[in-house]
């Protein structure tokens, strides 16, 4: 019953030689399907970078767009600024997420379920209203926090929402939930045998953490860091809202400029700049694969175990205080501002005399908005369910099977995240406009599943690489069918990953705006578009009410998913 392989020559755990023909055929069929739905829109983006006009319009092939970005100091500056922001942001986010994941999965911190749920819930607060709340809180002159702390803050010091520091810190806070959701299941799945062995050998807690636990978690941490880096490079709302007014431009805000703020949209240059981002992502993927290829990370085997709990002693209350403070600052405070804002006559003017239900009345009395709510729920359910099936099977083929298309599948799963959302949305439009499902909720489901694949598949691969092949081999020897293996071995092991990925995909479907804006039609409106429209007309009060409804929908889905996961997915 090996729990960890000593061999470094074995690239990863893999089940060799499934004899069922259906299993052998499945990866290729899946790769073909994913290649079509992922590469076709991406192909449109690539094509646009070599054309004088958008795909579909009369134009010529050209390299002008590439030449433009190669010589433009603005583009080069944006690339450098992106890394200047992303690197500290990711370091901070992954550090915080790792600390929380370890504390909640492996220590005896009080109220751990509550804390874990609250931190995971942070992921579901839509970024735009969350950022607007922070603008209300820390605008240099009029921010509530700056005004409230004026007598306490030293000298002329003020928090400044429009600064490099805010971009890094708020960006990291917004990013923490993703690495946390990836790392938490991995921390839970560590076999305690190695830690116990180290403990018996005299290792103290710090040595144990540094020499055993962290190396075991290297794949999950690297995957989380890589994903956070890619997500950080693709991040848009924070940089647009806080960076642009301060003259700080990154990759995505420059691309937005090229698309939205030139005399004619520069589809070619925007696509070319996106290709640069894609190149960085491919490099990142390559580096990650190189690191992971040298090690084996099997920690889950046929032996039953419970994760070893570290007793923090009195420090557990300190840990609790730190966690609660973080949650109040990153979640309660901005969410309370958002809720209060939805009850005001005018956005940003929070005062007892300004209290009104105007925003809520307007939101609830509009048939169009109610249709948007219904569509949002439906699209969320379909996206999450279909996405979990696709990403779990695809992840299995990448992390558990040896076959020639594995690297290609892995790359195909990553690709959508490497293209900024607004450019990928154009790719979806150019690719899907001819389909009968265009302007229906089904085209949204397709687009959102593709958008969610990179992250949802990470939920599964980061857990699957920890599982020893012996479990499946034993099942095969005993004549268990593949369905039996899926239900009796994988289902309980993957329960946290299934719930995490399902919720993640649901959230993607509920809050993604750019694709929805280009693909919806009459009758298929969704809530994210409605919020955009209210924000665009300056009615952030109604937008806040809708954002709370959006969060409410996700919260209900979150609770239901966890309940279903607990009752139907865990081993009995």
């Amino acid at each position: 019953m090996a729990t960890i392989s000593s061999s470094r020559s074995e690239p990863r755990s893999a089940v060799v030689g499934w004899r069922w023909p259906s299993i052998k055929l499945l990866p290729w069929l899946l790769l073909a399907a994913i290649a079509v739905v992922v590469l076709y829109p991406l192909g449109m983006v690539v094509l646009a970078s070599f054309r004088t006009t958008a795909p579909g319009l009369a134009g010529e092939f050209t390299l002008d767009a590439w030449q433009q970005i190669a010589v433009a100091p603005e583009a080069i500056g944006a690339i450098l600024t992106t890394f200047k922001i992303v690197i500290p942001k990711v370091c901070l986010a992954v550090t915080i997420a790792s600390a929380f994941a370890w504390t909640m999965a492996r220590t005896n911190i009080p109220f751990k379920s509550l804390l874990e749920g609250a931190l995971a819930f942070m992921f579901f607060v839509p970024t735009l209203p969350w950022m607007l709340s922070w603008v209300l809180l820390i605008s240099p002159r009029s921010g509530f926090l700056n005004q409230a702390l004026a007598s306490v803050l030293p000298g002329d010091f003020r928090f400044n929402a429009y600064s490099y520091e805010a971009l890094v810190v708020l960006g990291a806070m917004a990013s923490v939930p993703i690495p946390f959701l990836l790392l938490y299941p991995a921390f839970l799945n560590i076999d305690p045998a190695l830690e116990e062995a180290a403990h018996v050998s005299g290792a103290n807690r710090l040595t144990l953490l540094w020499r055993v636990t962290l190396p075991l978690l290297a794949p999950a941490i690297l995957a989380a860091a890589a994903l956070s880096t890619v997500v950080g490079m693709e991040s848009f709302e924070v940089e647009q809202l806080l960076g642009t007014p301060a003259g700080i431009y990154v990759f995505t805000t420059r691309i937005y400029d090229l698309l939205y703020f030139r005399d004619t949209p520069r589809f070619g240059a925007a696509s070319a700049l996106s290709m640069v981002l894609l190149a960085f992502t491919v490099m990142l993927l390559f580096v990650q694969r190189q690191i992971l290829a040298r090690q084996s990370f099997v920690t889950v085997s046929g032996k039953a175990f419970r994760p070893r709990t570290v007793d923090l002693g009195r420090w557990r209350w300190v840990a609790l205080a730190i966690a609660v403070t973080y949650l109040v600052i990153s979640g309660v405070l901005p969410f309370a501002i958002l809720a209060l804002n939805s009850l005001m006559q005018v956005s940003g003017f929070i005062d007892v005399q300004m209290v009104t239900t105007r925003g809520w009345s307007k939101a609830l009395s509009s048939p169009q908005l109610m249709t948007a709510v219904q569509n949002t729920i439906l699209v969320g359910l379909l996206t999450a369910t279909l996405g979990v099936v696709v990403s779990s099977v695809a992840s299995y083929t990448v992390s558990r099977l040896r076959w020639r298309g594995r690297a290609l599948m892995d790359a195909a799963l990553w690709l959508p995240i490497a293209i900024p959302g607004m450019v990928l949305a154009l790719g979806f439009l150019w690719a899907f406009v001819g389909l009968p499902i265009y302007k229906t909720i089904w085209v949204l489901v397709l687009a959102f599943v593709i958008r969610g694949l990179p992250t949802s598949s990470r939920f599964f691969t980061s857990t699957m690489v920890q599982v020893s092949p012996e479990l499946e081999e034993a099942a095969r020897v005993h004549g268990v069918t593949w369905r039996g293996v899926a239900l009796r071995i994988w289902r309980p092991i993957l329960q946290p990953a299934i719930v995490g990925a399902w919720i993640y995909l649901f959230v993607i479907a509920v809050r993604t705006l750019d694709s929805a804006l280009l693909l919806t039609g009459p009758g298929s409106e969704v809530l994210s578009v409605s919020i955009f429209q209210q924000t665009s007309r300056g009615d952030n009060v109604v937008a806040s009410a809708l954002a709370i409804m959006q969060v409410g929908i996700v919260l209900v889905a979150y609770v239901l998913a966890r309940l279903v996961g607990r009752h139907y997915l865990t081993a009995h």
């Binding site: 076709y40 192909g43 605008s139 642009t244 003259g247 005399d263 390559f286 406009v433 039609g521 009615d539």
Partner: protein, 389 residues
Amino acid sequence: MRSRVSRLIAALLVVVVGAACSAAPPAGLASGSAAGAPGPHADNASTAQLSPQDQQAWDDTVAAAKKEGEVLWSNTQAIDWMDRVAARFTQKYGIKVNEEVSPPPDFNARYSAELAAGKQSFDIRTGGGPTMRDLDARQVTVSLGTLPVMSEPKTVWIENPFQDIESGKGNSVFYSLAGYYFLVNNQLCPPDNCPKSYKDLADARYKGKILLSDPLPAGGSPGTRWAAYAYLEYGQDYLTRVAENVAALSRSEANAQQQIAKGEYALYLMTPGAPTTIVGLPRPWPFRLVVPEDGQMVLLLGLSYLQKAPHPNAARVLANFILSQEGQQVIASGSGDTFNRKDVTPANPELVTISDKLFPRNPDTFEFAATYAQYIPFIDNPLKARGLK
């Protein structure tokens, strides 16, 4: 390992490029031709009174519009009056109005993709004059034909809505005329220490007071048009000195208003017709509107009827309704929503009044829409030198 990666990258490139080349929608946004559009009664527009034949034709158009049953109306930004006009129009004609909001780049991408795929869904597009005239210049629009409102006396209009049609330059009609103001915070910009004219903006006393609408080419932001008009009147040195006084740039008129009202910045150049949620604040307001002493800049807001509109009759009936007295009154009943008829009563006159004195060299004309972007570098460069862009 290196060769494996090379093979992977090569395979990816082959698949990606192959997918793109084989699957590209056929080229095809027709240019220079109105062949696809006009639908019935697509005669050149005229300001003559409707003849009995035209009246009969219009009645037929309305009947056909009712048969079509719906119309897709796209605007550059979400606006309250769109909801109100759509509701009243549906009530009057029984034709459902599907509202769609998309900034020009989204709209252009979607419209051209749909046209190329033969799936055109848009009927009517509204937005700022430069945006509409850009559609005209790209020959995406077609003539609205003869509408009943065209037979009304010219004196009813604040600004001739059919000027481009009459001059043969475009197909857009203009439903609204908006004047620019300074929106100022009372505390940070008290009357005795606040710019009173565009010229004053360059005064070094006002350093750090100005929140400037980012001068952007797409559609022309308030900052773009200000820069163009002001350059023509006051020159490069003026723009450079104003740039020295700019505290920050804004790309959201709605947020900028709130920042002024909250006291984050002292002064912002704005157009009425932009979202005006801050008028919901209790009086006395913490802000005021200042009409510049050296004249008011203006902006026309337009409406275009799109090529291959799937509901051509409903589109024309809606266009006529928006310009009618009834439709314009619905628009004017909103706070700060601008219009183009003299025979309507605005809900909040102080927000929509057009000054008698217009800023010199202030024509929001067809030609200007095609050239204003060339003035952007004159303000962009000093802003970049200050690290604001």
